[in-house]
């Protein structure tokens, strides 16, 4: 479900419209559409919540925020890639090979 800028502002107590505009301008949030007609997908809404929490509850200021977001985006990127590799193995590799991979990974990552 898509959400407009104005609705999103009312959803988060204390979210300053200027701040959200700034986050969009910095491409920390990337809604569809243009200024005045932004449309936020669910992931954009969740990301605004997250940035708001980073700012307000975790005291990450806007100087440090891009570093945090960049690292976070890389973590999720890796998670999606690893998931894709897992799915690819599931489709291509025989069951015994998958089991062997799974065992070896467990072995190598045991702390």
């Amino acid at each position: 479900m898509m959400m407009s800028f104005d609705v999103l502002i009312t959803q988060i107590d204390g979210l300053d419209p200027d701040a959200l505009m700034r986050w969009i301008a910095n491409e920390w949030v990337r809604p569809e559409g243009r200024a005045g007609h932004y449309l936020f997908q669910e992931i954009d809404v969740a990301r605004v919540h997250l940035i708001y929490e980073l700012r307000e509850e975790m005291e990450v200021d806007e100087v440090a925020l891009p570093v945090v977001l960049s690292l976070l985006d890389q973590v999720y990127d890796l998670r999606r890639r690893v998931k894709a590799i897992g799915e690819a193995l599931g489709e291509v590799a025989a069951k015994d090979v998958r089991q062997a991979i799974s065992d070896q990974v467990a072995e190598k990552t045991r702390s």
């Binding site: 992931i43 969740a46 509850e57 975790m58 985006d73 015994d96 062997a100």
Partner: protein, 308 residues
């Protein structure tokens, strides 16, 4: 429900400021979006958020301290989970990785030599493993796919495979040749060769399921007087009778002349759509038409005009 003071690690007489500080410190550590994949962090964060919800509000905190309410039911409103979206396909929106998927080099960066990058460790030889399935693409001519054919395929490792394309094969059909893939190691079985068929289009045949369609050009004489014409079908030419006064666009069916029957599928039909070709200018025809007074002065666009 745990004691919210213990959850936040503060004394019962802690100031509101100290509670806020404690909450922030713990939220930084346990926020579920910052700890994807850790169910423990998520559980912990829920407790912390609930404890904070209770103690950060001086009224509620007072009620709790006096024993008027308990700590249950203080979970804060469900916030949308960024993790849930970012782990799935929508997460690509904020991807920083290489665009358009990872190649062997990108994978090699993480996985060493396993995906074709140079160097790295040799795979351990200590366990039995079956060979990989190997994928190939075979491009077949339209008629090869319709009628079936045997094609010789030379694999990158020099092996030669005779691939039998079944009659009625469709675009994207994958054939599995057992044991023709990569060799197994330590006694593992060889993998399979998976051969995907791509069908090239035909200049005039078009396939629609088991049926085949073509546009059949006919002369004015053939259209008006009718008569036998020769039609190409996937299995050679056949004679077909054109009824007299056949219009352009008339569809004639040749039963059973489409895609031949294959397991579970009956033979298809061939549909020929007539297209009248007037041909090169002919003064005799032009003169005839000019002097021609049709019985019925029909407007062929009358149906079209009836549509608003």
């Amino acid at each position: 429900m745990d004691d919210p003071y213990k959850t936040l690690g503060v004394a019962r007489d802690a100031s509101q400021d100290a509670i806020r500080q404690a909450y922030r410190k713990l939220a930084k550590k346990h926020h579920p979006d910052l700890n994807p994949g850790s169910a423990k962090a998520e559980e912990q964060f829920k407790k912390i958020a609930a404890a904070n919800g209770l103690l950060s509000d001086p009224d509620k905190r007072g009620q709790y301290d006096r024993g008027e309410i308990d700590a249950a039911g203080q979970e804060r409103a469900q916030r949308p989970s960024y993790r849930e979206h970012a782990d799935g396909d929508p997460g690509r929106r904020y991807s920083q990785g290489p665009q358009g998927g990872w190649g062997a080099d990108d994978l090699g960066d993480i996985f060493g030599s396993m995906f074709g990058g140079g160097g790295g460790r040799r795979p351990s030889a200590s366990y039995r493993s079956d060979g990989d399935d190997q994928r190939y693409v075979l491009t077949a001519e339209f008629l090869e796919a319709v009628n079936g054919a045997t094609r010789r395929l030379t694999l990158p490792d020099g092996r030669v495979l005779d691939v039998k394309i079944p009659a009625g094969a469709t675009e994207g059909l994958v054939m599995r040749l057992r044991g023709q893939g990569g060799p197994g190691s330590n006694g593992g079985a060889a993998g399979d060769a998976l051969i995907e068929i791509h069908v090239t289009p035909h200049p005039f045949f078009e396939r629609s399921g088991q049926d085949i369609r073509l546009v059949l050009p006919v002369s004015l004489t053939e259209a008006v007087l009718g008569g036998p014409v020769e039609v190409r079908t996937p299995r050679g030419p056949v004679k077909m009778q054109i009824p007299p006064d056949s219009d352009s666009g008339t569809e004639l069916r040749l039963r059973g002349r489409g895609v031949p029957p294959s397991k579970g599928k009956a033979a298809g039909d061939l549909y020929a759509t007539l297209r009248v070709v007037i041909g090169k200018p002919d003064t005799a025809l032009t003169d005839f038409i000019r002097d021609w007074k049709p019985h019925d002065c029909l407007n062929p666009r009358v149906k079209m005009e009836a549509v608003p």
